[in-house]
């Protein structure tokens, strides 16, 4: 971004028709893109602020037809939401820091071109993306490791994701070897090379991966359901919302039982779902511009070297 910025200021000082048309076309493409992607968000927002019974009629596009805050009230009134919120924040913070650190470290080790075991260990990691023991074996393992009713099930099992590791490794591969060599010449060990030289250069990719991890942590609820279902103090926001949404959804799949118990489909499905979605994506939306900063600073630091 700064790169193109700088070059254009220097070279194209006077009005340039070709350049103008170019910018115009780009502006047009992006505007079209924004309209198309903004629509589902605005629609969800409109539905979330619309009266639930009225929303059932459909036909709400960009603006609520009948304003109501009830959907948000329905989502937020539950007493367990506060516990859920604090655990969600905690797992996002702890999980992101821990996972980023560990993933970066293993990526660093595997990006050392001379490392004799780099290939077998890489294969070991890459394959984890495609093999899966299934729900029950994993559950039994975690249970035997004492992860039932424990906070650690949120941060330990997913500590290294092969995907994130490979993205970081690719970035590190692009850094010049000369940096490492000169530091080693000065007597630094690998760990020191990692912390002193590599980490500062990797800020943009770290910011990206941190975002991925944080979103994953913040959005996950399945682990809560499997392992901490009965531990009220370890519940997460997303799990509480899932419970709320599944209590108002209608995928019970058995018409005869439904008719027998007289359980009717609940009013709130669509609008409450919309309100819950808006509420849970807010924190991440706020987080992102903060991370965007690093996309620029990483470059500056990188630019100084070499």
């Amino acid at each position: 971004m700064r790169a193109t910025n700088r070059s254009h200021i220097k070279i194209h000082k006077k009005f340039d028709l070709k350049n103008f048309i170019y910018s115009f076309v780009i502006g047009l493409v992006l505007t079209a893109f924004i309209i198309v992607t903004l629509y589902p968000i605005l629609n969800t927002l409109a539905v979330s602020f619309n009266d639930a019974l009225d929303a059932l009629r459909g036909g709400i596009y960009l603006w609520p037809r009948k304003w109501s805050l009830n959907n948000y009230y329905t989502v937020l009134h539950k007493e367990s939401m506060m516990t859920g919120l604090s655990i969600s924040v905690l797992r996002t913070v702890v999980g992101t820091i821990l996972q980023l650190f560990v993933t970066a470290l293993i990526a660093f080790v595997l990006s050392r071109k001379k490392f004799v075991f780099a290939k077998p260990i890489s294969i070991l990691y890459v394959l984890t993306m495609y093999v899966n023991g299934g729900l029950i074996p994993t559950f039994l393992l975690f249970k035997s490791l004492g992860f039932m009713n424990s906070f650690w099930v949120y941060v330990i099992p997913g500590m290294v994701s092969a995907f994130n590791m490979l993205v970081i490794r690719t970035y590190m591969n692009g850094l010049p070897d000369s940096l490492e060599e000169s530091a080693m010449m000065d007597g630094a060990g690998y760990f020191k090379v990692f912390t002193r030289i590599i980490v500062p250069l990797c800020k943009p990719v770290f910011a990206t991966i941190a975002l991925f991890i944080a979103v994953g942590q913040w959005n996950s609820w399945f682990d809560t359901m499997l392992y901490n279902r009965m531990a009220d103090s370890l519940t997460t926001l997303q799990y509480e919302l899932m419970k709320l949404l599944s209590s108002v959804s209608q995928l019970s799949g058995d018409a005869n039982t439904a008719a027998l118990t007289g359980s009717s489909s609940q009013v709130t499905t669509k609008s409450v779902r919309a309100a819950a979605t808006i509420l849970t994506s807010l924190p991440i939306v706020v987080l992102y511009p903060f991370l965007q900063r690093y996309f620029v600073t990483g470059l500056t630091i990188g630019g100084v070297k070499e």
């Binding site: 019974l53 009225d54 059932l56 009629r57 459909g58 036909g59 329905t74 009134h77 539950k78 007493e79 655990i87 905690l90 702890v94 820091i97 821990l98 650190f101 729900l135 029950i136 559950f139 039994l140 249970k143 424990s150 906070f151 912390t195 002193r196 980490v199 359901m225 499997l226 279902r229 009965m230 531990a231 009220d232 103090s233 370890l234 799990y239 899932m242 419970k243 709320l244 599944s246 209590s247 209608q250 019970s252 799949g253 058995d254 018409a255 005869n256 039982t257 439904a258 008719a259 027998l260 118990t261 007289g262 359980s263 009717s264 489909s265 609940q266 009013v267 709130t268 499905t269 669509k270």
Partner: protein, 566 residues
């Protein structure tokens, strides 16, 4: 970097302190008070846990009525429900981990896994439970080892059925259509579509200019029963589900291949080609379906009431004149007896509430279930607190104000105040007091107050007072027809048996072909193609297994073998 690591360490340690003591300690009193209904102080209250493989509303910890019941009977139960998993997955996980909540909904797999506690020998100590079902009904619950492991929760009619609303299936038609035609008798399929055609021709649009949809069919996912099962009703059979059982010959009949089925789909095909059926019905989602109903544009459909109730609520809220629905018991020929509504108490029971081997206080758990059936508690569960959720008039009849009615459907009110223990045994029909209905929805006076004038007018025109009156009244004697309803057997079939595999294939095939049959340009060719695909699923395997189940149930209840001699 060091700073970051130090910070990390601190966070990890702090969070460990925070959450290390996170595991829930189960409140359990050592003092096993013979808690019958009385007052118990808070610290003596036993807390049980339950998991139901259904979707439900999780109550707040400080739920008012749950707390009140707990103080009266000395126990309460934390109910958890299905979240984001299928029922099979959730139960499979429990079995694999071999740890269970105290209460659970019976499944064959749990039984098979030895996860449940036999309760038959203790039933005598708990009269409310013991008397909940008859001796022969209890007998039908015996597993292979001769013991009983579950208490079926639903379908127990106290004194008489009070149903005012047809909760199940019917052809539902808007009152304005009947009013326009001068409230004619509509009995057969042809009469119905004739009326819809005439009305649509005269009234093609809504007051706001949007187009009217004369007939709607829901075909989305498992809701496609609206498309596939009417042939059984059209022939005058009750909702056995999945197939017909002839009560005279005990023969299992496939309703998918009857002449009526072909006639019905041919009729739908004709009407579709005329533009009477929603051109989008075959691709419409459930949400879109509810949207269309809520808009008041749909004149008629086949549906089960519980599924579109919210949409009708939306119609009422919008005050769309004449757009609420009345059930019609349509048959293939006029003048036939129909069985859309049935009052029955099943003779053969299956499933229900079970106590698991993880329960440390089985006696306490049974006592809890027993106490929940106490008349006072029953009223708390279904009506709520007197003066808060309902009022009592001079004759002892319960009634509610509009505010109370509105409260009862709010989800936050349900979570914080009401506690129905919906998956614990409960009656339908009359309240134990012999005056009121079991639930507010079935209380006649409550029902009338909730009706719109247009509905009252329509019902009166047909000499009816309730929705149920619009249909034939049928009672099915569980002793005479012990197989009813046979869907409780089909629901337990799996792909492990040829019949179960055939059933899964039949479902897939019907789902794929039935919409094609309705929209086909050449109905006969499409029907032949469908029948060919259908027969290749081997429906005979399925029917044979169901047939055997029917014979088995007859043998179980009547003690006679009615299998034809070979």
């Amino acid at each position: 970097m060091k700073k970051v690591i130090t910070a990390l360490m601190v966070i990890v340690l702090v969070s460990a302190l925070f959450t290390g003591c996170g595991g829930k300690v189960k409140e359990s009193s050592t003092d096993n008070g013979n808690a019958s209904v009385g007052n118990t102080s808070n610290d003596q209250i036993k807390e049980f846990t339950a998991f139901f493989d259904r979707q439900g509303i999780e109550l707040n910890k400080e739920n008012t009525i749950q707390q009140l019941i707990a103080e009266k009977i000395g126990a309460k139960c934390k109910e958890t429900w299905l979240t984001g998993q299928s029922a099979e997955e959730a139960v499979g996980m429990l079995i694999a981990s071999d740890e269970y909540p105290d209460f659970i909904n019976w499944t064959p797999e749990l039984q098979d896994a030895g996860a449940l506690v036999a309760i038959d020998e203790q039933l005598d100590k708990y009269p409310n439970i013991k008397n909940f079902w008859s001796e022969s009904q209890w007998n039908s619950l015996k597993q292979e080892d001769g013991h009983i492991y579950s208490i079926p929760q639903f379908g127990n009619i106290n004194e008489k059925l009070m149903d005012t609303q047809q909760n199940g299936e019917a052809f539902w038609i808007q009152t304005r259509v009947l009013k326009w035609a001068g409230y004619p008798e509509i009995e057969s399929l042809d009469q119905l579509f004739d009326l819809l055609n005439r009305y649509y021709e005269a009234n093609p649009t809504m007051p706001d200019g949007s187009s009217v949809i004369p007939f709607e069919i829901l075909a989305y996912d498992w809701y496609y029963f609206c498309l596939e099962n009417p042939p059984q009703f059209l022939d005058g059979w009750p909702n056995n589900g999945r197939c017909i059982v002839d009560p005279k010959t005990f023969e299992v009949i496939d309703y998918n291949t009857t002449p009526t089925a072909e006639r019905y789909f041919k009729k739908l095909n004709e009407e579709y080609r005329k533009g009477i059926i929603d051109p989008e019905f075959m691709t419409m989602s459930h949400d879109q379906f509810l949207e269309k109903i809520s808009s008041g544009r749909v004149l008629c459909m086949v549906e089960q009431y519980w599924d579109f109730r919210t949409a009708e609520d939306s119609i009422k809220a919008q005050n769309l004149e004449g757009c609420t629905y009345i059930p019609l018991g349509i048959t293939i020929e006029p003048g036939m007896k129909e069985m859309y509504f049935t009052a029955n108490e099943a003779a053969v029971l299956s499933g229900g509430l079970s106590i698991t081997k993880s329960c440390e206080d089985v006696e306490g758990a049974l006592q809890f279930v027993n106490d929940l059936l106490d008349p006072e508690i029953i009223t708390l569960r279904s009506w709520g607190i007197e003066g808060v959720d309902y009022l009592v008039d001079d004759d002892g009849l319960y009634y509610r104000t509009k505010e109370m009615r509105d409260n009862a459907v709010k989800s936050e009110y349900k979570a914080s105040h009401l506690s129905t223990y919906s998956y614990f045994p409960n009656f339908i029909g009359m309240n134990p007091d012999g005056k009121n209905a079991m639930t507010p929805e079935t209380q006649p006076s409550e029902f009338f107050n909730g009706l719109k004038p247009e509905v009252q007018e329509c019902l009166q025109a047909y000499g009816a007072e309730t929705y149920v009156d619009m249909l034939d009244y049928n009672e099915i004697d569980g002793q005479e027809e012990p197989w009813y309803p046979i869907h409780s057997f089909v629901g337990e079939m799996t792909t492990q048996t040829p019949g179960g595999l055939a059933w899964t294939r039949m479902e897939e095939t019907k789902h794929e072909y039935l919409t094609q049959v309705v929209i086909a340009e050449d109905f006969d060719a499409a029907w032949d193609q469908y029948m060919k695909a259908y027969q290749s699923c081997k429906p005979e395997d399925f029917l044979a297994e169901v047939q055997e189940a029917v014979y088995h149930r007859i043998e179980l209840v009547q003690g006679r073998n009615v299998r034809p001699a070979k």
